[in-house]
Symmetry: C2
Subunit: 457 residues, 2 copies
Amino acid sequence: MTIKNAIKRIEKVLGDRISTGNSIRKQHGTNETYFPEMLPDAVVFVKNSKEVSDVVKICNNEECPVVAWGTGTSLEGNALAKRGGISINMMNMNKITKVNTEDMDVVVQPGVTREDLNSFLKDKGLFFPVDPGANASLGGMASTRASGTTAVRYGTMRENVLGLEVVLADGKIIKTGGRSKKSAAGYDLTKLLIGSEGTLGIITELTLKLQGIPEAISAAICSFPTINDAVQTVIQTIQMGIPMARMELVDSQTIEACNDFFKENMNVSPHLFLEFHGSESSVKEQSELVSEIAENFFGSDFKWSSKPEDRSKLWKNRHNAFYAVKSKYPGHKAIATDACVPISELAKLIDETALDISKSGIPGPIWGHVGDGNFHATLLIKENNMEEKKIAQNIIHRMCERSLEVGGTVTGEHGIGMGKLNYMESEHGYAWDIMTKIKKTLDPNLILNPGKVIKSN
Amino acid sequence: MTIKNAIKRIEKVLGDRISTGNSIRKQHGTNETYFPEMLPDAVVFVKNSKEVSDVVKICNNEECPVVAWGTGTSLEGNALAKRGGISINMMNMNKITKVNTEDMDVVVQPGVTREDLNSFLKDKGLFFPVDPGANASLGGMASTRASGTTAVRYGTMRENVLGLEVVLADGKIIKTGGRSKKSAAGYDLTKLLIGSEGTLGIITELTLKLQGIPEAISAAICSFPTINDAVQTVIQTIQMGIPMARMELVDSQTIEACNDFFKENMNVSPHLFLEFHGSESSVKEQSELVSEIAENFFGSDFKWSSKPEDRSKLWKNRHNAFYAVKSKYPGHKAIATDACVPISELAKLIDETALDISKSGIPGPIWGHVGDGNFHATLLIKENNMEEKKIAQNIIHRMCERSLEVGGTVTGEHGIGMGKLNYMESEHGYAWDIMTKIKKTLDPNLILNPGKVIKSN
């Protein structure tokens, strides 16, 4: 029962689609943030559910760790092979199996990315709304319960996955959920698996809910004197029931980085990035209402984008804020963290975090999906500077503690991975033990993505 | 280790708040549909989570079955004491603990009913949208993953519960979820517990998401020549992305019963009951669009209700259709069943079911939340007529089989209880074994609502 044996046995099944080469292992052992390299012993490239099942069965037999790999864009080290073993690259399972336009659903393999899916759907008048920024794989997005800019209107992966096919630790394949919009037939295994970060099973197929492309879309940016003014605008907008499609906060540090990176000329001050979906007249009505609210909180310098190309530039800037910020600080590592709180607590939490950051001397732009109470801090630390890492982790610690104090959560969308494991106990108490019990029931040999989400395994 | 011992030990803790009297046991052992009486050995009336924990701990120790009881309005025998034991009446735990108007959430005890909650919220400009018809308790609604008329817009209990407090089989109390609108912190135990019908734990507190009362509400009924025309109207409306608040189908048998019961004068033909929420202008726009679509499918005789009193009469009629139908057939038992399918399959499924019913000679009105693909048949069988019961069960069987064939589910909202247990295997396959494994992990003595949802226990 060794990793070595597992590799030998998988070779017999997959031939040259298993690799122990250093460069491939490295590709599957690095991450976009601050976690050290953690290389799997081998990487396998699978083509279908049966192969995933075969690989997992062997791993279970040999007690060999196994973790699925998509685009590698997760931010908390979620897919790193912490204990070595096998990394299963899912990106060749990239078929869009069936689209049902009448029912507005689609069946996809896990290696399809959200941008690929949306390109495919465009001429059908449909789109998949969940948008975490990165062009992540849909399997990965389900595994981390991703959300992003549009969750305020359309929900997260939790609300947009109707059903799954999953390979369990023993290699058995189950189907959960289905194509109906709701069901009361037994335990909701779909929702249990979404956000379980590959620790309960490996997703090999997803049935997703789609939306009709709205008749009218309009986007805007608006500048505010303070973060608090921007957040108050968001709170009033949500309370009025205005069905915002996107409502994003970007602080002045981020605006500065974006101005440099994209050669833009935005006011260096906190901004809201907004998007409205609906009929022509409802988009007009929503825009007017939000403009009025924003003006009450000193919002100014509205820039509207009704043309698709302007809109896509606006959101490209927003999505690439992370890369803009990273490029402003060469020789630095980015520690991207997030938390989510009841919206009434958001302004205070952001203010306190911003104060912590400014005191620390570390650059740390803040942005977030504020319509959900979710915000991000991206802390830039000099590479290999352990002292700065400690300072950054202290900032994160205070952010987590404050979130929990006000009934929030230590992560709204990045997941637990390795970065937030220390907060599971304080967030969940004995409920974390229950998660661990469920894990041990479904994966008694603890082969699936070990070292993540649950109690020390 | 006996039920008798459990009762004695509970008496020591709760004094006269445990009853073994026949009439009280009968109240907690009957149901609104066709299941035979199943009396618990004793009924306890609890005041707080600690008492629930004490009772469950004793039951676990004595291996005594225990089931929570709310308003007794479930339709698949979900809360009947199938194996006797203790029925915990939760209705004295009826406090609204905390409402957060800024965050639009509320913390309630499980015995609060949805109507009580909405009366309380009214002057705060907020409401809780999930509306299964019956004035059910919120704990019961979460346990069965209830939905109803407004799910097409606002989702089911699955989407509207942010967090829970739950007493587990060993008496331990856990908190799941929280007050933030989303979280990626570990397994979604909240969603696992919602719809588990009291087999994994007993809900002792709920944190619920609220909605702002819309600026404008308008409702209407509209008559169609055939069910298919009505359903096609629904499909087109959903596809156009019109954010319907309610979209209910009622067949001509039901209309007839409602005309008699409520002294109404509706066309005896299939109807849609509609409701629009939004701003004045968006409600106007939505209404016009849906009227146009309906006219394309020969919809006629629109009757609009913009005044609150007319609207509440309209929905009272719809909600009480079950009682109208029951009163039309004295000496009959109602077998209420539901299924949910992808919406493109709905018209065919309803047609085939209606044909089965008309061939059978048993009255069986059909209605449903067709915006979700969810429909109900209410089969009226003569009391103690085993042959009619068999015929009715055969109709249900064919309805379930057809739903599964087209990727649907055997229940959209009534739950499994005892009535749909035989379909768990065909709907879920090996995933049902996984549910059963989770059950056995969390409740090794199988004391929580035995005989429901999971494999023979």
